[in-house]
Symmetry: C2
Subunit: 417 residues, 2 copies
């Protein structure tokens, strides 16, 4: 028994029958004595249709109007789920973002929540009413509807859980967080628990399970998250247990009882590109000259490698960036060619980033060198390296992605027994 926010994504509420399935998950938690709020996404396909209409109306359009149009998707799901819950005898009502209110800043289409007044919802939850909340939206300082950007319903759910001091179960089309993408690594194992820090690295390194901002928010407010499947039968015996474990993967603070793994998972991302500037005149301020203008153009640079020539006069600078920004970055740099002072620019979109993640790295030496050796054994060349306290990432030829992920999964002992 406790207070629980349950979040269901677009595939889980794609039609009225699936919404009925969601209602049975909610019913189970209510009958177990929990006070429940549900955060829902738009029915799968709805948001795309609404976005498409906005684009047809005008390719460049007022973000405030876009928000007013697109936020309706979640409002529809919330109303329908409330109806279905009432039908099976569970008191429920729907809430739009502006009704709660979920206050946000004024950055339409990519707003950030600033305050949630959970008092009214909480009062009703204590009286047994389920709050069905339209995700992905709020109300801005201009009293107009804002949206949080795509994937934002995860973030809504965590923020509501923080405001209500509740835990948060994220229902999705996978049943948890795995040591690697199960579509690539057949021996991948589902993790029972993972720390916020590791989940954060996984999310930022390309794992699609949770939206990055939702994990950040959960970590800051210490909201226990669970990633679990909405397609498992609602009456399956494999449900949340009083000790806080459940059928999915719990994302929470690092604790002693946690499985003592050095590496918790292998992540990869194909959304990478690489740019090299050849024979850059090596003088003070050259890095700022290259990366300042890119930052101003809203391009996030990730890995950076710089090799200085034997005489120290010129350097080669190589860096990675999101593949979608490659064209824009080259345009920016070509214009600055004389100012920066380089001879040549080359680029490649055929690269991938593979990462090993684990809080155990902090206290274990040799994690990185094991990675490099495993890849070398398979003949995979490393083009760049970055490290943080709990992850090591390498850039490789994209063609070797699957091979690298499988080799590392085995090397760190993650394969199923």
């Amino acid at each position: 028994m406790g207070r629980l926010v349950m979040k269901f994504g677009g595939t889980s509420v794609a039609n009225v029958d699936r919404i009925r399935n969601v209602a049975r998950h909610v019913e189970r938690e209510v009958k177990a004595g929990n006070q429940v709020a549900v955060v829902v996404s738009a029915m799968a396909g709805t948001t795309n249709q609404l976005v498409e209409w906005c684009k047809q109306a005008a390719p460049m359009h007022d973000a405030r109007e876009y928000d007013a149009v697109v936020a309706t998707g979640e409002q529809i799901t919330a109303g329908l789920l409330a109806i279905v819950l009432q039908e099976i005898g569970i008191p429920a009502r729907s809430w739009s973002g502006w009704q709660i209110p979920i206050e946000t800043d004024g950055v339409h289409s990519a707003a950030r929540m600033t305050n949630i007044n959970g008092a009214e919802i909480l009062k009703r939850m204590e009286q047994g009413q389920v709050a069905v909340i339209a995700g992905f939206q709020g109300i801005g300082p201009d009293k107009r509807i804002t949206t949080l950007g795509r994937g934002g319903s995860d973030t809504s759910a965590v923020a509501v859980a923080a405001a209500l001091k509740a835990s948060c179960d994220i229902y999705t089309d996978v049943d948890g967080v795995y040591t690697a993408d199960p579509r690539i690594v057949t021996g991948a194992r589902k993790l029972d628990k993972i720390s916020y820090e590791e989940m954060l690295e996984q999310a930022s390194l390309g794992a699609k399970v949770l939206h990055l901002r939702s994990v950040e928010l959960a970590m800051v407010y210490n909201v226990p998250l669970q990633v679990r499947s909405s397609f498992e039968a609602p009456d399956s015996p494999n449900q949340n247990k009083p000790d806080g474990t459940g059928p999915g993967t719990i994302v929470c603070q690092e604790e002693k009882s946690m499985e003592q793994h050095v590496v918790s998972g292998i992540a990869y991302s194909r959304d990478e590109a690489k740019i090299s500037l050849r024979k850059v005149k090596d003088k003070p301020g050259v890095s700022a000259g290259v990366f300042g203008p890119l930052a101003e153009a809203d391009i996030s640079v990730d890995m950076i490698v710089q090799n200085v020539s034997a005489d120290g006069a010129v350097a080669d600078i190589t860096f990675t960036l999101p593949r979608k920004d490659l064209r824009k970055a080259i345009d920016v740099l070509e214009k600055l060619k004389d100012q920066i002072g380089f001879q040549d620019i080359t680029h490649s979109a055929d690269v991938a980033k593979v990462s090993v993640v684990g809080i155990g790295m902090r206290s274990h030496a040799g994690v990185a060198s094991k990675m490099f050796k495993s890849l070398a054994d398979k003949g995979i060349n490393i083009q760049a390296i970055t490290t943080s306290e709990i992850k090591v990432s390498v850039l490789i030829d994209e063609a070797y992605t699957e091979l690298a992920v499988r080799a590392l999964h085995t090397a760190y002992g993650l394969d199923k027994a």
Copy 2:
């Protein structure tokens, strides 16, 4: 130049291309120097889809949730039209009912507007911004979204026009009000002007051009209405003129300059049914005994005919009611058979009501007798009659509907020259 509310229904905004056409109508009025507010319906088909989802969720559902779901249709259109207007250089923003606010009573799904605060919209209209308003909706005393019931966008538009002291153009798929249904009477003529009273009778007698409540409201607040076509080219020369005439039909207060017609139109309705109670014991209170229980069951009785037997002991009572309520009415009456005291009950759904409407009747004798004679000449039997100051209605066999409408259209000199 003036202040104008333009209303566009579901067919006129059925897709983004049609919304672009609507924007050009708005552009024309803005360029003519008008301050403009636009009231829009949901894109054709959208409301039906939303209603269908609610029914799938539960056949009997919470009207508050139904409203939250169904009101999204108009919000989508409002946002899209605002985007399209901005794209062609016209400042515009969308408004949901709760944002204005349009306050209503708490009768969800069939709410009545109680107050519209037009101050903010008016301020912006004076600055040149077009207000694009989601029709059919408001906010109730419970701070939840309400809807006005189907067809309510006409009523929204008139109420907004009343609040803004504006005139109101209702764009629809016909180009005005005709002397009779042009699908039946090839010689039917479009009227330039018609009085509120006549339009009200037409609307209540089966003409589908305007929603009854919208005409009532226009009459009470003296809002000049125009019914006109949204499919006429926006740049057609046939547009609103400074003298208040326009391409459609103006609905306004009766005035001397108005065409001095005795009869302005012939209306008909097939949504009728007839019930006869045979040999009712004629005693004081018998009418109340019959019609009281029907009123309690929410059944509107229209025409009533009572024939008392020669000895005055028993009567036959015949009355008409909406065809959809026939089954329910018979159930109510069968249960009260002994209490009311009648011998037999008969019914028929094969009846139609045909009406002649005209403010000229007030000062012209012989309108009704001309009607009865015209129908007799065609061999059409009259089953019941009702009259008001400005209309005469008769109940006839449904098979003769077209014949009757055409005969009357000719008899009153309404055919095109």
